[in-house]
Amino acid sequence: MRFGLTEEQRLFDDSLRAFLADRVPIETLRQQAQTGRGFDPAIWQGLCELGLPGLLVPESYGGAGLGVLDAALSAEALGHAAAPIPFAASAVMAPLAFANSASRDQQSEFLPRIAAGEMRVGMAFAGIGGQTGDATLTLQGNRLSGRVQGALDAGEATHLLVYLPDGRAALVEAGANGVSAQVRRSVDRTRPVTDLSFENAESAVLDAANDRMAAALRVVDAGRVMLAADTLGAAQYMLDQAVAWAKERVQFGRVIGSFQGVKHTLAEIVTMLEPCRAFVWHAAYAQDALPDEARLFACQVKAHVGDVGREASRMATEVHGGMGFTDLLGLHYWFKRCTFDRQMLGGPQRCREEAARLQGWKLAG
């Protein structure tokens, strides 16, 4: 047994981070933020070459056949770079949805296209996962109707995969008849949220799981772990920046990092943030290897890292003083990354409530 990364994982992480450092400078972020659609073709192309979209796709379908922990490491790196590209839904939840709920034929048809990066899947959940907002979806045969808000990774998606309250999922093409997607710039300009509506749209229904709802929740859980990992990366970036700033900025004739006020704030951030890394790894690993604990880990890691991300991102902003509050350094892109991750797929309040119900901790009526 080892609680840590393999050599392969480290190497892949290094190359992914090197690529992102090179290809997502702040100027690129600012340009992408203008569109707010969360998709940069050049970055996407590079990530496809690294194999990111096929990380979880089985090797037999052209992917790398890796696990949720590998995906979480990538999510952390993407959060650290505030990369304006689809990932959690398109490259993690969608392949899992196919693995869990699609027929063999459906898998054969779609998984290779996901792995190749030519198919990008936006996803939304109605009545599960703890989203706020509209969610009224119905299926008649394979015809999808209704609306759902807050779709993830749907800014430049080729396909949309939506879950219904009963745990079935329906896949439609983004441009098909009866499908409309309103991409909305979110607080986090690196990732939009999208409102979807369907009118008798033709869909491929994913319904091959023995236990539909359990299969759907495994997809939600993996998504939650990804969002936690993304927050971890973004908050770590903010801490790194705040530490660097504290070593440079001079006030009252001293670098501010020599004042206990600033030093202790940074110490508090690292004390709450660093254990989140092992927690994310453990939670991700649990999705593949510890089925009895997987849901509890997913709910708790989403909640806890979401809370830490909120505090850490505020405190790191405060360390930068006024400069942290302006657009000049661009630090706010990472702050907003934490904000987005926190709310998507159920906030900490909702995730802990699910954790309580899982454990049979019921409230008095």
Binding site: G127, I128, G130, Q131, T132, G133, D134, Q149, G150, R184, R185, S186, V187, D188, V193, K247, E248, R249, V250, Q251, F252, G253, R254, V255, I256, S258, F259, G261, V262, T265, R310, R314, T317, E318, G321, G322, M323, G324, F325, T326, D327, L328, L331, H332, F335, K336, T339, F340, R342, Q343, M344, L345, G346, G347, P348, Q349, R350, R352, E353, L363
Partner: protein, 403 residues
């Protein structure tokens, strides 16, 4: 302790309610966008000043209503406006900070020239304090004003200047005696933003709005009479102003308004068909916040009574900015969690609940940082409020940066 309405106050309450019934429709939207006030807002402000519902205790000779400070009167008025959800008028740096400063240390001419137009909303002020290299360490400002005949010639740069793009005037902290120790070399000067040589560049913040500006001064000439108090006393004047800013930034009335909104939000928003108020963690956080708001509201009543009595409130006053801005941020954080994923779409020019929640959530961090960051506030509370010793001077060798 007496919070009952005696006859006089009951009469005032009736009067204010009648005023609101008659004129309330002219009020601008409460908590509207943070931008140059429009004509409707200015007209409303004049009406309020005229009736003594704004600038109530500013002496008549300076354009105010001239009432004696009376904490209950203020509360009766505030409550009546709040219950009707009607604007209580302008709250800006000119009214909340400069006017009390001039009333405390300005000359008769300065009061006559500036107080009236400011409280009526005809004159807007911005604050020329922070510089790129002088944030927390405000006394280190480098913007120079050199006396040339009977004019100061100003050169330098300010930052974090809210409202500079539409303000008429600035109160400026600058260095007039560079040979003196840093705190003793400053002066406080009032100048028109239309003076030649001033350039204003908008500064966008994390909210996506240009709430602040950078202001550049190139040979800007200001009559020497525009100084408040005298040369070298700028640090003293700036601290008078900051005292009022600290109160303005932790305002408990703002907490009450937000609390009411939060209750509404939690009673109307649902997740998967369940009202947020019925979900334990949301409700618990609201309850905790309610308790804290009740504490700060009572504290504000106490401070106002002391102010009316002419008592120096000391540490009680110094804690308001730090404590208040942190609580306000936690309130907006709960609002953000309430609007949830459906509230993520964001266009800062909108004014719906979700945008307001997300905007406040970010802007409140600016409020925590601005007017003295939390670390500076805690120094002030510890040193001036509790009498703890200042940070000792460091040996010169340690002063250099280390990358």
């Amino acid at each position: 302790m007496d919070l009952t309405l005696s006859g006089k106050y009951e009469a005032l309450q009736a009067e204010v309610r009648a005023f609101i019934r008659e004129h309330g429709h002219k009020s601008p939207k409460v908590g509207g966008p943070r931008r140059d006030p429009d004509q409707k807002t200015r007209d409303w402000q004049k009406l309020l000043v005229e009736h003594g519902y704004a600038a109530r205790t500013v002496p008549r000779e300076y354009g105010g209503f001239g009432a004696q400070p009376d904490v209950l009167e203020a509360a009766v008025i505030a409550d009546a406006f709040a219950e009707a959800n009607v604007s209580q008028g302008l709250a800006n740096q000119g009214i909340s900070m400069l006017v009390p400063t001039l009333l405390e240390v300005g000359t008769e001419e300065q009061r006559r020239a500036y107080v009236g137009p400011t409280i009526r909303g005809d004159m807007f002020w911005c604050q020329g304090y922070s510089e790129p290299g002088s944030g927390s360490d405000l006394a280190s400002v480098q913007t120079r004003a050199v006396l040339d005949g009977d004019e100061f010639v100003v050169n330098g740069q300010k930052i974090w200047t809210s409202s500079a793009h539409f303000a008429d005037m600035m109160f400026l902290l600058c260095r007039t005696e560079p040979e003196m120790p840093k705190h003793a070399g400053l002066s406080y000067i009032l100048l028109s933003m239309k003076t030649p040589g001033i350039e204003v560049r908008p500064l966008t913040t994390m909210t996506g709005r240009a709430e602040f500006n950078e202001v550049f001064f190139t040979d800007v000439r200001v009559p020497a009479s525009q100084i408040v108090m005298s040369r070298g006393q700028g640090w003293h004047v700036a601290n008078v102003t900051l005292k009022y800013e600290r109160l303005y930034l932790g305002d408990a009335n703002k907490m009450s308004v937000r609390l009411r909104k939060l209750v509404d939000l939690l009673q109307t928003t649902e997740i998967d068909g369940e009202k947020l108020m019925a979900l334990p963690e949301y409700r618990d956080r609201l309850l905790r916040i309610q308790g804290e708001v009740m504490a700060w509201r009572a504290h504000q009543l106490r401070l106002r009574t002391e102010q009316a009595d002419g008592v120096d409130s000391g540490v009680k006053r110094l804690i308001v900015k730090y404590g208040g801005t942190m609580l306000l941020w936690r309130m907006s954080a709960l609002a953000v969690d309430a609007v949830g994923a459906a509230g993520l779409p964001y266009d800062p020019s909108e004014t719906d609940d979700a945008t307001a929640a997300n905007l406040d959530y970010m802007f409140d961090i600016g409020m925590i940082i601005g007017g003295g960051s939390s670390n500076i506030q805690k120094n002030v509370i510890g040193e001036r409020g509790l009498g703890l010793p200042r940070e000792p001077k460091t040996q010169p060798a340690a002063a250099g940066g280390r990358a």
